[in-house]
C-alpha cells in the first residue's frame, strides 16, 4: 500500500511541474486567445540563457534577471511581429503561427548555444527524504513548494491588484477593455512576461531534473492534455489537470507497464485527455462555447 502512495505522490509532484508549465499556457491563452505552441521553445530558450550565463560565472540572481529580461524582450517581439498581424484570424491559424515561431526560437537557441545537454545545479540535494514510511524526492518537494508559492503570488496578482483587474478585463473582452481605456499592448506584454517568468521557473526546475536540453520542448507538449482536462482558461484548472496527468501517468507506467510495455507515459496523457474530452468537451473548469446560429 505504501508503494502505491509513494508512486502516487511522486506522480503528484511531477504533476505540479506540469501544472507550472500549463499555467504559462493559460496566461497566454487568457490574454491573447492563442494556444502558444512556442511556449516550450521559449521556456527552453530562457533556461538555456540562464544556464549559459551561469556557466560563464554570472551570479545566480543576475542571471535570473537577465533571462527574464530576455523573455520579456521576446514577448514584445512576438506580439509585434506575429500576433498583431494575425489578430482576428482563426485559432487554428494562430496555433500554426506559434508552431512556426517555435521552430524559429528553437533554431536560434540551438544556433547560439549548441545542442548538447547543459547540467543545471540548483543546490537542492537529490537525496530521498523519508516521510511516513515513504521515500520522497527532496527535489520534487522543493518544486512543489515553489509552484505553490508561485500560484499564490499569481492569485494575488490577478485578484488583488489593478493590473490583475486589467488582465482579467482583457481576457474577458478585449474590445470592451479598449473602450474603458485599458492599453491592450501593455497588458499583453505584461502577461507574456509573467508567463515568461512562470516559464523560466518551470524551465529551471525541469532543467535541473532532466538537464537543459531539447526534449524540454516535448515536456511542454504534455501541457496540452493538462489544459484539456483543466480547461484552457483556468489556473486552478491547470493545477488540477497537472496533478491528474502527473499522477495517472506515473501510476499507469508502474501498474500497467509490466503488462503492456514500458514507455506508456509517452501516449497515456493524450489518450486520457481524449477520453476526458469525449465526456466533457470543455474540460473541468473551461467555458462551454455556445454556438449561435
Amino acid at each position: 500500500m505504501e508503494f502505491f502512495f509513494e508512486v502516487l505522490i511522486g506522480g503528484l509532484l511531477a504533476g505540479v511541474m506540469y501544472a507550472l508549465v500549463a499555467i504559462g499556457f493559460v496566461l497566454i491563452y487568457k490574454a491573447s486567445g492563442v494556444f502558444n505552441f512556442a511556449q516550450g521553445a521559449m521556456v527552453l530558450f530562457s533556461a538555456l540563457t540562464f544556464v549559459s550565463l551561469l556557466e560563464r560565472g554570472v551570479p545566480f540572481w543576475l542571471a535570473f534577471v537577465i533571462s527574464l529580461a530576455a523573455m520579456a524582450l521576446m514577448a514584445v517581439l512576438v506580439e509585434r511581429v506575429v500576433l498583431r498581424p494575425l489578430v482576428n484570424r482563426s485559432p487554428i491559424t494562430l496555433f500554426m503561427a506559434t508552431l512556426g515561431l517555435s521552430y524559429v526560437i528553437e533554431g536560434f537557441a540551438q544556433a547560439l548555444w549548441g545542442a548538447q545537454v547543459h547540467g543545471l545545479e540548483l543546490g537542492i540535494s537529490d537525496e530521498p527524504l523519508e516521510l511516513g514510511g515513504m521515500l520522497l524526492s527532496q527535489f520534487d518537494i522543493f518544486a512543489a513548494l515553489t509552484a505553490a508559492s508561485l500560484v499564490l503570488l499569481l492569485s494575488w496578482l490577478f485578484n488583488k491588484t489593478r493590473l490583475g483587474l486589467a488582465l482579467r478585463a482583457v481576457a474577458d473582452d478585449p474590445l470592451a477593455a479598449l473602450a474603458v481605456g485599458i492599453r491592450l499592448q501593455r497588458v499583453w506584454v505584461v502577461v507574456w512576461t509573467v508567463a515568461g517568468f512562470v516559464g523560466l521557473v518551470a524551465g529551471l526546475l525541469w532543467g535541473a531534473r532532466l538537464g537543459v536540453q531539447f526534449s524540454l520542448s516535448l515536456v511542454v507538449l504534455k501541457a496540452l492534455p493538462v489544459l484539456i482536462i483543466g480547461g484552457f482558461t483556468s489556473i486552478s484548472g491547470a493545477i488540477v489537470g497537472g496533478l491528474i496527468i502527473g499522477a495517472s501517468e506515473k501510476l499507469a507506467e508502474v501498474y500497467l507497464g509490466p503488462f503492456i510495455g514500458s514507455g506508456i507515459e509517452n501516449w497515456f496523457p493524450y489518450v486520457l485527455a481524449l477520453l476526458f474530452l469525449l465526456v466533457r468537451p470543455a474540460g473541468l473548469f473551461g467555458e462551454r462555447a455556445i454556438e449561435r446560429v
Binding site: G107, L221, P281
Partner: protein, 355 residues
C-alpha cells in the same frame, strides 16, 4: 498576349467541369506527363531520382492526404506521420507474411489499414471540434509509434527493429533501380492525384468544405456530419498510408518507426500551409519547397566566404527560415504558394497589359 483565351467556350456542363478549361493548359499537362513518364527516366541520373524526385513525389502525396483532411474538411491533424507509419508497416507485413501477394495489392492493403486506424482516431471528431481535436491525432501519433516499436511482431521480430524493404516487383518487372522506383512512385502518385481531383470536386468534396466552413449549417441542409468527417479521416488515412509505404519502400529502402515521428507530422503540415490549404497544386509546390530548400540552402552557404556560416549551423538556419516562412505565409498569403501561382497566372494572362 501569348496565352490566348478568347474563343474557348464550354457548351456542355461536363466541359465546364474540367480542371483545365483552356486548351493550352490541357496540352501543357499532357506534355508534362509525357516528360515525367518518358523523358525523365531516360535522362535522369540516380541522384536526382533518389534524393529529389522520389521524396518530392511521396511528400506531395502525403501533403494531399493531409490536405483532404485539414485543408478541405477542416479537421486539424498532427498525426499524419503515424498514419504513414501504419501504411508502411502494414504493407511490409502483408508482403512478408502473405505469400504471393502482388506488391500493388500489398500497398493498397497498407493504405486500407492506415485508413482504419485513421477512422479510429477520427471518431472523437464527432464530438470534439476545432482546436481540441488536436489531442486525438497527437494521441495517434504517440501511440502508433510506441506500438510499432514496442511490439516486435510488426517488424517481423528483427533484432534491431529496423527492417529492409522487400524487392519491388510489379507484374514481373523488377523496379529496384532508381529509375524503376521513380516510375512506380510516379504512377501511383498520378493515379491517386487523379482520384483526389475527382473527389474534391464531387459532392463529398463540397460536403467536406461545408463542414469546414460551418458545420452547423451543413447539418441543417442535410449533410451527414458523421459520415462526412469519418470519410475524410478514412480517405486521408488511405493516402497517407500509401505515401508511408512508398516512403519506406521506394525512397528509404527500410521501414522504421523513427522516421515517422512528430517532426514528420509537422513537416507535412508545413507542406500544406506553404503550398496552400485546400489546393491540389499546392501539395506539389509545398513538397518541392520542402525538398529543394535544404539543398539550395547548403549550396548557397557553400558559396559564402568560408567560415561565415558553420556547416553545423545550416540546419539551425534552415529551422529558423522555415519557421519564419510559415509565419510569413500565414500573415501574407494564407492560401500559400498555390495562390501566389494563381496570381502570377492572372497577370500573365493580361501581359503586357496591367489589368
Amino acid at each position: 498576349m501569348f496565352y490566348r483565351e478568347a474563343g474557348q467556350f464550354s457548351t456542355r456542363y461536363a466541359q465546364d467541369r474540367r480542371v483545365f478549361a483552356l486548351r493550352q493548359d490541357r496540352h501543357g499537362l499532357a506534355a508534362l506527363l509525357l516528360v515525367a513518364f518518358v523523358v525523365v527516366p531516360w535522362l535522369g541520373n540516380d541522384y536526382w531520382f533518389s534524393a529529389i524526385l522520389i521524396p518530392f513525389l511521396v511528400l506531395s502525396l502525403a501533403g494531399l492526404g493531409l490536405n483532404l483532411l485539414t485543408g478541405y474538411a477542416g479537421q486539424l491533424s498532427l498525426g499524419s506521420a503515424a498514419f504513414m507509419a501504419v501504411g508502411a508497416f502494414a504493407t511490409y507485413n502483408f508482403e512478408v507474411r502473405v505469400a504471393g501477394l502482388p506488391l500493388l495489392l500489398s500497398i493498397v492493403l497498407g493504405g486500407l489499414s492506415a485508413a482504419l486506424v485513421a477512422v479510429l482516431f477520427g471518431l472523437p471528431s464527432l464530438r470534439i471540434k476545432g482546436f481540441y481535436l488536436l489531442v486525438s491525432t497527437l494521441a495517434a501519433q504517440f501511440f502508433v509509434t510506441w506500438a510499432l516499436t514496442r511490439f516486435s511482431w510488426f517488424s517481423n521480430h528483427s533484432a534491431s527493429g529496423v527492417i529492409s524493404a522487400p524487392p519491388l516487383e510489379v507484374l514481373g518487372l523488377n523496379l529496384d533501380s532508381p529509375a524503376g522506383r521513380y516510375l512506380l512512385t510516379l504512377t501511383i502518385v498520378v493515379v491517386l492525384f487523379w482520384l483526389g481531383k475527382n473527389l474534391v470536386r464531387s459532392e463529398l468534396g463540397r460536403n467536406w468544405m461545408a463542414v469546414r466552413d460551418m458545420d452547423a449549417a451543413a447539418a441543417v441542409i442535410g449533410i451527414e456530419l458523421a459520415k462526412t468527417k469519418l470519410l475524410a479521416f478514412a480517405i486521408s488515412g488511405f493516402y497517407l498510408g500509401i505515401a508511408g509505404a512508398l516512403w519506406a519502400f521506394a525512397y528509404l529502402g527500410t521501414v522504421e518507426p523513427h522516421g515517422f515521428d512528430l517532426n514528420r507530422s509537422f513537416q507535412i503540415l508545413f507542406i500544406i500551409i506553404i503550398g496552400g490549404l485546400g489546393s491540389l497544386l499546392g501539395n506539389f509546390l509545398g513538397a518541392a519547397f520542402i525538398v529543394l530548400f535544404p539543398v539550395l540552402l547548403s549550396n548557397l552557404v557553400a558559396l559564402l566566404p568560408g567560415g561565415l556560416v558553420d556547416a553545423g549551423q545550416v540546419e539551425n538556419l534552415q529551422k529558423i527560415i522555415f519557421g519564419a516562412l510559415i509565419i510569413l505565409f500565414l500573415i501574407k498569403e494564407p492560401e500559400g504558394l498555390a495562390r501566389l501561382w494563381q496570381r502570377f497566372r492572372q497577370r500573365a494572362r493580361l501581359w503586357p497589359l496591367r489589368y
